[in-house]
């Protein structure tokens, strides 16, 4: 081996040692943060600027879980994430596709056992898209209050699953100003509001088809859409809801 080749090998080995060291640090950090995969309490986990999504200059500050995220509580989990991340900190705000981000890490967000998602994405400005959310077990009062509110970056929710006891209310989609696509599944059986969203027609129809059938019960529940979303539906489509005992406001 020539001296030049030896110097090249030394330089490459130095980089490999550096990368191995960084990987070891990442493993140690996230083993601790996620309790070797056993963590289920994720309230306030990514609150405010704990993590900065700046791959280029601050990768060590990025949200990079090692294990699947399986919160039993996701209260304020991403509240105020990436809020003014540049102001006063010297970091540049970056908005990412959380679904793709987690796929790249080979990590999933599984909320099927979550009982509290209050403020989960409240004032969150870090994502353009978020993964499928199963709220079947969010049945307690306030458990979905402001789960997505005061945010204008999130446009797509891959989907939401609801059960008959899922605690939707008028605050659940508070000021989710740019949410335009979300396919609902399961059953919705609580009055709630989507009037602060920009849901497209496909999403709205999925909501109507998920509303519980109240015929024969004498009960009325209300879905508040507001004038803009109402205008996206034909009379026949509105009747999907009204004929099932739902009043559209």
């Amino acid at each position: 081996m020539s001296i030049a080749e030896k110097l090249t090998t030394i330089a490459e080995n130095e980089q490999r040692v550096y990368e191995a060291g960084k990987t070891a640090e990442w493993n140690e950090l996230w083993d601790g943060l996620q309790d070797y995969g056993k963590r289920t309490l994720y309230q306030y986990f990514c609150n405010k600027n704990v993590f900065i999504m700046d791959k280029d200059t601050k990768p060590w500050l990025n949200f990079k879980p090692k294990y699947d995220l399986k919160p039993t509580t996701a209260q304020s989990m991403f509240q105020s994430f990436n809020t003014n991340a540049g102001a006063g900190l010297g970091y540049e705000s970056v908005i990412v596709d959380l679904t793709q981000w987690l796929e790249d890490l080979d990590v999933t967000l599984d909320t099927s056992n979550c009982t509290n998602a209050q403020n989960m994405f409240y004032n969150c400005h870090g994502f353009s898209r978020i993964p499928f959310l199963d709220f079947s077990n969010c049945t307690g009062a306030n458990s979905l209050a402001y789960f997505i509110a005061e945010t204008w970056t999130i446009q797509t929710i891959d989907g939401i699953k609801s059960s008959e006891n899922t605690a939707w209310d008028s605050r659940s989609f508070g000021s989710a100003n740019n949410v335009s696509h979300c396919i609902f599944s399961g059953v919705i059986a609580k009055s709630f509001s989507l009037s602060k969203t920009k849901l497209d027609k496909e999403s709205l129809l999925s909501v109507l088809n998920t509303l519980k059938d109240l015929t024969g019960t004498g009960t009325t529940l209300t879905l508040t859409l507001g004038a803009t979303l109402q205008a996206k539906l034909t009379d026949a489509e509105k009747a999907i809801a009204t004929q099932k005992g739902w009043t559209l406001a």
Partner: protein
């Protein structure tokens, strides 16, 4: 060919007013099959309450 009749009962608030059943508010309301116009009344727009956030922390 299929023929069907769609019945929608729509309440529309007067100008400057909002419809409410005490819990929900709206300018135009399409009544569910178990609902009644008697359950709704008009209030001035200024009396429509603004929802308060559960937490004010940023």
């Amino acid at each position: 060919m299929e023929k069907s009749t769609i019945e929608l009962i729509k309440l529309t608030a007067s100008e400057g007013m909002t419809l409410t059943n005490g819990e929900t508010y709206g300018k135009e309301v399409y009544l569910g099959c178990n609902d009644s116009a008697d359950n709704w009344r008009e209030i001035p727009d200024s009396e429509v309450p603004k929802p308060a956030p559960l937490e004010s922390e940023e």
